[in-house]
């Protein structure tokens, strides 16, 4: 049971006419990036040289931008704060924001993804790398457009896109600090790899019984339950720098700089207890679900994208292995089968 994301294996196509805003206080860097993007596709690219100019451009724009490239280090409001500001607007919650910087320290990378960036490009620009990032952003944009076409809201305010979600699909859970999209998590890990950063620890969790909630609850309530569970899992991590993503199939992946003192079983138990204690206001008894934690996977040097995927596979396999040997472990000791 390997989690997947609906954008992972999108067909190779090219989008045209996408509108982008490039924000960088260095005019030459703006021009270089624009030239690079122009070489790859037919885009409508605007450039501005400060976060304040970007906010004005966004506020005055009639049709929303499709994508943002944001320099991190700018005088005044920096790119990370600008990213958070952009993401605070409903119409831009799912719009890809790609951070641009000459810095490759872990704190910069982490803060960028935690602010809602979907990817990270380092200066000087490697045009092949830029092209691959742009292709990924295109796929996200078009998937978002497809989902939004004929957008209808149900009684809980969920969009048509949300209504079409499958249980095994990665879902972006918004509004919880340190919780990021699964695609962003993979890109974050790959960026750590490119920057030759060591000592990253991954631990996977599975919320056993969530598939029953998926089957019984309206999508809006299911998403509320998922958000509640994610909040409790993040709280149980007891580490402000932990990043978490929901990968689908009831599975979560958490990333920390160090595996020292990290115990997936303890965290899972605390998260389950917190979830049961909180209760769920919807028509589902949340004491019938329980977290299980895998063995923390310490990752050294990750030199290839394949290594990131392999590490995620190992982390997920670990939680599935543990779950099989520990079941049943939920609140009222009932056995659940996982789809």
């Amino acid at each position: 049971m390997k989690p997947y994301h609906r954008y992972d294996s999108a067909p190779d196509w090219r989008a045209t006419g996408l509108s982008m805003l490039v924000v960088d206080d260095d005019e030459i860097a703006c021009e270089l990036l624009k030239a690079g993007l122009d070489a790859f596709g037919t885009y409508n690219i605007e450039t501005v040289n400060s976060a304040e100019e970007a906010m004005n451009a966004i506020a005055q724009r009639e049709h929303p931008y499709d994508c943002f490239f944001l320099d991190i280090e700018m005088p005044g409001t920096n790119g990370i704060a600008l990213c958070s500001w952009i993401k605070s607007h409903d119409q831009y919650r799912e719009t890809p924001a790609i951070m641009v910087t000459a810095r490759s320290e872990r704190s910069f990378i982490r803060n960028a993804f935690a602010a809602g960036a979907i990817d990270y490009v380092t200066k000087p620009f490697d045009m092949n790398e830029l092209q691959s990032r742009m292709r990924m952003a295109e796929r996200l944009i078009i998937a978002k457009r497809d989902a939004a076409s004929g957008d209808m809201l149900d009684g809980t305010g969920q969009s048509a896109a949300a209504l079409r979600m499958d249980f095994d699909e990665a879902i972006a859970i918004e509004g919880i600090p340190g919780v990021i999209d699964f695609v962003a998590m993979k890109n974050y890990l790959k960026q750590l790899s490119r920057s030759r950063l060591f000592s990253t620890a991954l631990v996977a969790f599975r919320l056993d019984g969530l598939n029953h909630a998926y089957g019984r609850l309206p999508q809006g309530q299911f998403l509320s339950l998922l958000a509640l569970a994610t909040r409790k899992l993040k709280g149980a991590m007891r580490h402000p720098d932990a990043l978490i993503a929901y990968a689908g199939n009831g599975c979560f992946i958490a990333e920390l700089e160090s595996a020292t003192g990290l115990d997936g079983t303890d965290i899972a138990r605390d998260a389950s207890l917190a979830l049961w204690k909180a209760g769920f206001t919807g028509s589902f008894d949340c004491s019938t679900v329980a977290f299980h934690g895998g063995t923390p996977q310490r990752i050294g040097v990750l030199f290839s994208h394949g290594a990131v995927d392999r590490s995620l596979d190992i982390a997920f396999a670990s939680v599935h292995h543990r779950t099989e040997s520990m079941r049943p472990a939920n609140a009222n000791a009932r056995s659940w089968s996982i789809a």
Partner: protein, 117 residues
Amino acid sequence: MDNSQRQLSAAIDRLRPRYVSTMTEYSERLTAALDEQAHVGPNDTALEEIRFVAHRLAGTAESFGWGEIGAHASHVDTLMEGCDAETCDSHRHLTPVRRLRDMLLKAIRVEAAPRRA
């Protein structure tokens, strides 16, 4: 070279003269900041100016073919982070800045020299 690479190269060639004048401006700003450090003594404004220039060069020089300048600017950028008037050590912090300024001046001279056919 495919069409997108040709397009990109053409854009970089178009920007190049502008970048060379920016490099000239950066070398002057580094010289002024170094002079200020030498004559007035360590001060945060001049150090911040050095870091600003190094950061800019680190992000763009390689794209125009000056990879060595970009790499050294990146080193200076990292070195200057956390360096202030109190902690600034002339040899450790400012020698690499002088080298960066000299690399810029050399690149500008080479760029200005008439090219042989």
